[in-house]
């Protein structure tokens, strides 16, 4: 067991876990921020996407020993009052169906818009291609990202 100190959604956090504990479980089950979802555990589906130092990562593939001093942002900390342009666009385009993968989709999309204010459709597809959605909300995800880019 080891104590790991890092920043979560702008606040300091300290957890005592095994060094190989995935960030996913630290966020969800230790810190009770359950918006980040478990889907595959192997970095294949994107449902657990969070930001570490501003980069979108699969939290199931980042372990505690890599976390010291890092800035972690989850869906709960993306924007005050869940008012990120992407979240507004997600609602306007009525994207979610079951909703389970959508935190990861939004966090992945947020990384894109943070670095590319006006992404082309091709850039959106390339950036979002690793995030699976079994409900097939893909057409709406693209529309929502385009809307967020337009309205941000």
């Amino acid at each position: 067991m080891a104590v790991v100190a890092f920043t979560i959604n702008g606040r300091p956090a300290k957890v005592e876990v095994a060094p190989d504990t995935p960030l996913l479980w630290i966020v969800r089950e230790h810190l009770k921020l359950s918006g980040t979802k478990y889907g595959c555990g192997t970095g294949l589906c994107g449902s657990c996407t969070v930001h570490v130092d501003g980069r979108a990562v699969r939290s199931c593939q980042v372990v505690a020993s890599q976390l010291g001093g890092k800035q972690v942002t989850t869906i709960e900390g993306l924007a005050a009052d869940a008012n990120h342009p992407l979240q507004r666009a997600w609602i306007a385009e009525q994207v979610p169906q079951c909703g389970y993968c959508q935190s990861g989709q939004i966090m992945q999309a947020a990384e894109l818009l943070a670095t590319n204010k006006k992404p082309s459709r091709e850039q959106i597809v390339a950036h979002m291609d690793g995030n699976l959605c079994r409900c097939g909300t893909y057409p709406r995800i693209v529309r929502a990202i385009e809307r967020a880019a337009r309205e941000a």
Partner: protein
């Protein structure tokens, strides 16, 4: 004073109490949706719905169905609000408890299957809401001393036009009394469709806001004080369980509390989820033999095919029209064609999760399920208590598509809580979810069509060899009551919309010990593939365009309309460069319920060197009767079209030595964004009754893709999915 009239004891009355206002509980004799002969209607439909109006005007509507993405928690409350004439902005949706009064009127259970939720609750929900409105009107009439016939309603307001008086529903709720016997409302007294102001217009889904901000909604998100974690390594084949396993080694691992043998697997219990998942990777178990221990799906598929070819092998016959066998025997010529479909997996992104807490005085369960009544019953059985001792906290599902009709994860979690003596959060790993999944049956199909000298169809015989589903889902008694007809396997294996004078379909059971389940679209995803490719082949034999041939053969004007509309959307007759179009007709439903209909066109190209098919466009015209939420219907069609396209191109489960060969999304690939074609959907209204929607995109895609590949290459794809190797073989 408020009174409740409930025939069934509500397990969670407290959630319904406490609002100072008016509560209605309805025991409504729902008009039978079907004739007396229908198996579903044996005991007569009945629904109770719960409407509570608070003094501040807030209207709480209990939704008896569970949300898994399909939008029922918008559609059902909206239907009630329409008839109640409620101001939608004042409506709050609450999950109804599990109680017989909330049973689906067709299914006689609280369950969400067959895209039947809106269709099933349609009349009973409206009747209940109309009664609530009538109670409000009667109360105002009495207070104002005016004839009730002079009163009308506007959203959440009772109006007396003659005296220009108006009163809000909340104010009425402060003095109104619910009578012992609710006013009778006949179906013909319900609001006519021409006066709908909510139904048919899109309202935002209330769950979308929470789902865009990561709110806890799912079993995966549940936290119970003092809970521990568990995972279950289920036996690799149905009916198997552990003979022995390395319990001491597992128990010695950090943060592991126990490892227990259950009848169907090994449960690992620990203080953290990471500890139980790590221990899961170190499990070494010896499993006892079961009927499925030797399953080899590739070898079995050859046997299934041999069975459909063997005239001596008798199957169970489903619906028939006339004497197709005799008609084919006497036909001038017979066209025969064969098809196969591999097992497919649900791949819902939330694996099975259930939190269970067995206490001395009962059991609490937190989970999502498509069959709430069953979940409660199984939890009670596993805990050894009566159903009244079970509280099911109904969580939304992170997808399901048929998977969560089976509730073994509830049983497992209850057993693990018993073993732990604590609340347990049981999370199934993705690997276990795949390997221990339940799959749509594997199908071999053979269709024989008898034609007369002028190429007119005289008889149609559809033979299916496939695993069964009904005995495992509903039990052998139900299978026997249905005279052995597995309607989940059979679905779609009939052609009532075509001008086919005689028809027979039979199902040869393939009992191989493989775990099966309904999968989105149930049988139609497989059977309509065969039907609609054969229609294309008949067009080819007749030397006709597949569109013209279908339009001539479809005797149902609604069916012609969806096919025509899809063709028009696709600009069918325009020649493409390097791509080609394929078309299909499809249906969803059962004759007594009514069919929703779908016309689908796919545009594809094929890379001959790699064997990869690319779908460039999907067009879909859907006749859904009355569209309740048109925007969500488009979303559901996009969803089910994409789902089906995955099963056309990629998705397959294979089994060797009894063990599923796939284990995660790298080897069970579902479609990703870059593979999604532009999709155009046209929703067609054809009546005043909502018809099944949630699975409607499934039946048409696989045949449309196959037919498009034929149009492009002259080769038929008959084995789904159309993997690169199969495509290359077909083109060779």
């Amino acid at each position: 004073m408020n009174r409740r009239h409930s025939k069934a004891k509500l397990s969670r009355r407290e959630m319904l109490a406490g609002s100072a206002g008016l509560s209605f509980a309805f025991a409504v004799g729902a008009p039978s949706l079907f004739g007396e002969s229908d198996a579903f209607a044996q005991s007569g439909g009945r629904l109770n719905a719960y409407v509570t109006i608070a003094k501040d005007g807030t209207i709480t509507i209990a939704s008896p169905a569970l949300e898994m993405g399909q939008g029922v928690n918008t559609a059902l409350p909206l239907i009630i609000a329409e008839e109640l004439d409620a101001d939608w902005s004042k409506v709050r949706v609450q999950q109804a408890p599990v109680a017989a009064v909330f049973n689906h009127p067709i299914l006689q259970q609280q369950m969400v299957v067959g895209s039947l939720t809106v269709r099933g609750y349609w009349i009973p929900c409206r009747t209940a809401a109309a009664q609530a409105r009538r109670v409000l009107l009667n109360a105002v009439a009495e207070r104002w001393k005016v004839p009730v016939t002079e009163l009308t309603t506007e959203p959440s307001t009772v109006v007396h036009a003659a005296s220009k008086r108006r009163i809000g529903y909340g104010e009425v709720a402060a003095f109104a009394q619910v009578p012992e016997k609710l006013p009778e409302v006949k179906p013909e007294e319900l609001k006519p469709a021409s006066q709908f102001r909510l139904i048919g217009k899109d309202v935002p889904r209330p769950d979308v806001v929470d789902k865009s901000s990561g709110k806890p909604l799912y079993a995966m998100d549940v936290q119970v004080p003092g809970m521990v974690y568990a995972t279950l390594a289920r036996a690799p084949v149905r009916g198997s369980g552990p003979i022995s396993f390395n319990r001491d080694e597992l128990k010695a691992l950090p943060n592991i509390l126990d490892a227990v043998a259950l009848d169907n697997g090994v449960g690992i219990i620990g203080n953290t989820v990471e500890a139980v998942f790590a221990a899961r990777g170190k499990l070494k178990a010896e499993w006892r033999d079961a009927p499925g221990s030797k399953v080899d799906s590739a070898a079995n598929l050859h046997e299934y095919l041999a069975h459909v070819r063997d005239p001596a092998r008798k199957g169970v016959v489903g619906r028939t029209t006339g004497d197709a066998i005799a008609a084919i025997a006497g036909a001038a010529k017979v066209h025969a064609s064969e098809f196969t479909c591999d097992y497919v997996y649900h791949a819902q992104i939330e694996p099975h999760v259930c939190v269970a807490w067995v206490k001395p005085d009962g059991v609490e369960v937190w989970t999502g399920t498509q069959w709430q009544t069953r979940a409660v019953a199984e939890a009670a059985k596993a805990a050894g208590v009566g159903v009244e001792k079970v509280t099911l906290h109904q969580m939304q599902m992170g997808g399901s598509f048929g998977r969560n009709i089976f509730v073994e994860y509830v049983i497992d979690a209850v057993n693990l809580s018993k073993a732990a003596g604590k609340p347990v959060k049981m999370i199934q790993s993705r690997g276990d979810d795949v390997v221990h999944g339940r799959f749509r049956p594997m199908y071999a199909q053979r269709i024989e069509v008898g034609l007369d000298a002028s190429d007119k169809i005289v008889g149609w015989r559809h033979r299916i060899a496939a695993d069964t589903v009904v005995p495992y889902l509903y039990g052998q008694a139900r299978m026997d009551a249905q005279k052995g007809v597995d309607h989940i396997v059979f679905a779609g294996a009939d052609v009532p919309h075509y001008d086919v004078p005689t028809h027979i379909a039979d199902h040869i059971y393939e009992e191989r010990g493989v775990r099966t389940a309904p999968w989105r679209g149930i049988g139609a995803g497989a059977t309509n593939f065969a039907v609609e490719v054969v229609i294309d082949e008949l067009a080819q034999l007749a030397g006709q365009n597949p569109l013209a041939y279908r339009l001539a053969l479809l005797k149902d004007p609604r069916a012609r309309r969806v096919v025509e509309a899809a063709a028009k959307m696709a600009d069918w007759s325009r020649k493409r460069d390097g791509t080609a179009l394929g078309i299909s007709f499809g249906k969803l439903g059962l004759p007594p319920i009514g069919f929703s209909l779908v016309g689908t066109v796919a545009e594809v190209s094929v890379d001959r060197s790699t064997g990869r098919i690319r779908c460039h466009n999907l067009w879909c015209a859907a006749d859904v009767g009355l569209p309740v939420q048109p925007g969500n219907i488009v979303a559901q069609l996009e969803s089910s079209l994409i789902f089906a396209l995955g099963s056309a191109l990629k998705e397959r489960i294979t089994i060797q030595d009894g063990v599923v060969q796939q284990s995660n999304f790298h080897d069970y690939e579902i479609l990703r964004l870059s593979e999604i074609p532009p999709i155009a959907v046209e929703v067609i209204r054809s009546g005043d009754i909502p018809l099944p929607v949630g699975e409607l995109g499934i039946p048409g895609v696989v045949p449309a893709v196959s037919n498009a590949v034929f149009a492009l290459t002259g080769r038929r794809l008959r084995n789904a999915p159309f993997t690169p190797n199969r495509v290359k073989a077909a083109l060779a």
